[in-house]
Symmetry: C2
Amino acid sequence: MWETTKRDFVVSWTRTIAFSCAENEYSFMRETDSLSENGSGDRKEEIMRATYRVFRTEGYAGLSISKIADEVGVSKSALYNHYSGKDELLVAFLEYVMDKYSDEIQHSDTENPIVYLKLFKKTLLSEESIENNGNSDVPIDLFETIMQLKVQAVHNEVFREHFTRDDQFEHERLADRVRSGIEEGYFQDVDPDATAEFVQTVVEGAILRQTTTDSTSLQNIRRELDEYLRCRLIADPEKFNLRD
Amino acid sequence: MWETTKRDFVVSWTRTIAFSCAENEYSFMRETDSLSENGSGDRKEEIMRATYRVFRTEGYAGLSISKIADEVGVSKSALYNHYSGKDELLVAFLEYVMDKYSDEIQHSDTENPIVYLKLFKKTLLSEESIENNGNSDVPIDLFETIMQLKVQAVHNEVFREHFTRDDQFEHERLADRVRSGIEEGYFQDVDPDATAEFVQTVVEGAILRQTTTDSTSLQNIRRELDEYLRCRLIADPEKFNLRD
């Protein structure tokens, strides 16, 4: 049940990749490493994997359509037929990674919104998901990549549109769950949008802290988020223990 | 009282600049613009202001010791005498901005830890502080600059050390206030470190959302943070209204 639910658990953007599907992520990146050797996969896959490899080596500033073309072994103009520039290519990469996991991740079969919230929390704020999946530090690499691209949205409209869309998608999913939880009597009569946004904010803040400082305690953040949810959201705190 | 407390309010790193001292920030940046024209200020100030100008134009990738030297009108080697590279120069810039406001910002004279928390929240999570200080969008520019530098900490040890140190400094300040609030009976018997880290996480998440998407509602985040504080921290919710 846990495994199925975990897989079916719907999350959006980058966190999908960075946290919830750590194992898949790892295999994605292993494939990434070996793709150019065995030549398998279609052209789009190949371009996306080359994009990831080049970004990891060169960073945002050093990445160019030209370098990706060299890496894939196609002409620059062939790439320009599909992507008008490196920003469009990188947003396509972000969407590709999201789609890849959306294929595997169906709508959640978790009817109980409290169980859903537990999974949300466990999935997004777990050290195990980030670091201890037994597969080296590869997932945190992809996660860092996404954070570096996210900050491009500060001053770049192409990325800003992407991350706004992604953020709203996740927001709707989460707010809908809160809404149905209220209707079904699991939750108190809160503002679903405010509650969803607050949970998103905590998750984003935790990710930012985790990737940019050495002093973050996800355990503390998780525990205090529990307290917020218990106090603000859960209709009957005695009946449901979010720490499970 | 409010003005004095606001000025004396102790916060750390970049949020000091980005939020709490918007007016000073603005004058800092006005000076920045005019410095090269009137030639006033000492050399260090001049280098820091040149750093800010070049960063705003060129970004992290385009900034170099050489460009800063040109901007200031000194030799490259003169700059290398003080900074071993551009990362050290940029960290010096971050520390300079923090010091600049630390001079003005004394230890808080707010004895009541609930008033302190109100100020903390009002200062860090206020649209007014960010956008509506009547002085154009300049403060958000500096704020964006800092977020762009912060994400360098993802993979750059020099920035990571700086932001970890900064984060810990702010954490200690905040946790101490929670600790004394517990001793004085204002707060419940919580874990001061966990509470402080959670508040920091919410603030960081709000900043990240605010700078990278168009869908953030600081009002929602502020309201839910109130609910968390009311429920988790305040000993007598009837007596103290955090929304003031």
